[in-house]
Amino acid sequence: MLNLENYYIPLDRWIQTFVEWIAFNFRPAFLVIKWPIEGLLRLIQDGLLAMPPLLFLVVFTALAWWLAGRGLAIFTALSLVLLMLIGVWPESMTTLALIATAIVICVLIGIPTGILCARSDTAWRIVRPVLDVMQTTPSFVYLIPVVMLFGVGTVPGAVAVVVVAVPPLIRFTNLGIRMVDRELIEAGVAFGATERQLLWEVQLPQALPTILGGLNQTVLMAMVMAVIVAMIGAEGLGLVVLQGLGRLDVGRAAVGGIGIVLLAIILDRLTQAMANRERREEMSARPGLRAVLGGMFRGSRPALPEEAIEKTHGR
């Protein structure tokens, strides 16, 4: 009789050995990966911290107004003022820099990978299970190999954030391109588009709203992970929470938490507004530039179906 209790596969030890072996033999490779991330992170962080908080507030509020309208602009301004008043401004900027860095790298990796997956079924068959594993693995499980391979600190934190945040962008890019109306693809081919022209003229513009939807998901994942990576020494709001927990300082932890929530809402709404904006322009009757300008000069806005949509979106 086969008794499974007598058998044991030392999978844990194998993995440990494997990761150690990689860490030992491929250290230069990881340093090369780390280098541009570090540069980018430092650049963004120094920029944000050097910027006078009030200037930042004005710029961000204006951005929110332009992308999403008055409501979000007011919310953004109030939230940022609150972040200053509760004393977590520098930490917020560090977290923002961490997220921004991760997003840039996610875009650089995710969109090309998504495009590749959309165009080749073989690529998608390989990438898809990898994404499945990446998305079902609890996010803090990534922390250990990241520490072993990249060390501790904010830069390894950014690497962990990228690993967690990139899958939705790949999925949505793939989906967006695959969902483009067949007739539009046929039209492109029928008028003699090359593969590249088909991608840039037809597929990407049509897929853009979906890709931006994916970017929104990526931003949220990055936000969540940016807090968790405090455990491996990444600075920012996560660290505030972690310190609060360590000292059983509920107030301090709550302040960090509030900062995270406010930042997350702002980023979520901004990226969502970007995606909706694209979608709306595509779906509805946007009058020509001339018509809009004409309407402005006549002192009245042309009646747009967009306004109905705006209402449902609660702008």
């Binding site: 109306d181 007739e183 588009a193």
Partner: protein, 370 residues
Amino acid sequence: MTDRIEIRNLFKIFGKHPEDSLRRLREGATKETLLAETGSVLGVDNVSLNVPKGSISVIMGLSGSGKSTLARCVNRILEPDGGQILLDGEDITCCSPDQMREIRRHRISMVFQNFGLLPNKTVIENVGFGLKLRGMSERERQRKAEEMLEVVGLSAWGSHLPASLSGGMRQRVGLARALATEADVLIMDEAFSALDPLIRSEMQDELLRLQTRLHKTVLFITHDFQEALRLGTRIAIMADGALIREGAPQEIVEDPRSEYVAGFTRGVDRARLFDAQSIMRTDERDGFRLDKKGRVESWRKEGGPSMDFMTVNLEDKLIEIARRARSGRPIAVIDDTGRFCGHIPQDALLAGIAGAGDATPKSETKEPVA
């Protein structure tokens, strides 16, 4: 009239191993056995068809008959699995992708059922789409696109997005886009099928109007027999992937040859389709007196020669003749030079309109047809 496109023994098979399926077909397998044995669907079944230069050739068939598949094989959006497609005598089934792209950019363009317009681009950008792919400069493209918008009567809409246009207007944009490349061959895949009936007939007139000016070679796909009759110089009827009847509209209505085709022709408004030539009698003059040049001089009434008769042209449709006809007034058919060709007795006119029996045989008995 020379043929611009010649389709020879074309096969298109949807399935995993088209070559194998093709071999089976050549060995005598039928569509049904092919489906049962290999799971492959025969989309286009050995179709040969000529599209004369400067004509509107209609491919008519119900959905699933393979008409759109055939049309897509012509510009190789779908790859045919067997047979040849000659464009101006040159076989394009063996062209390289680069050559094919050049052909699509310059010689064959296409109009789509659901317009196929890019929703994020303005009307004028859509019209210039083919030219942009070709690498034409922005300014030249703009000029050309504006010109084409004027041809289809949408000059004022250039800066709008397609979504703000009605269906008919969108298809005009689709047409302008296809015309802008100056390709001689236009494939119109159910181009008017998504439009309301009134707009559809308006667009049909528009196409006929443009055609008298531009003389394109149009391959028009439709499921609507009325539309086929209205537009087609030639009509090809497809069913189950195969071509079952091909000919001029009048020929097909007059002699459907199969019960399937007769099903379409039965409800046809013959008065608008048939002309004087198709029903006139040429056996005798019916009392018309001609001069030396063969022109009608007078009509012999019981009392003596009379001028109380009417003349119609060979190409006049029955509906116009019926509109002008008066009881007791004989009808003489003349050609363009005024020469007498035949006459139309009233019973023949009525029979021609009603399609009683099999219309009226052209030159036989004077007896009214039952």
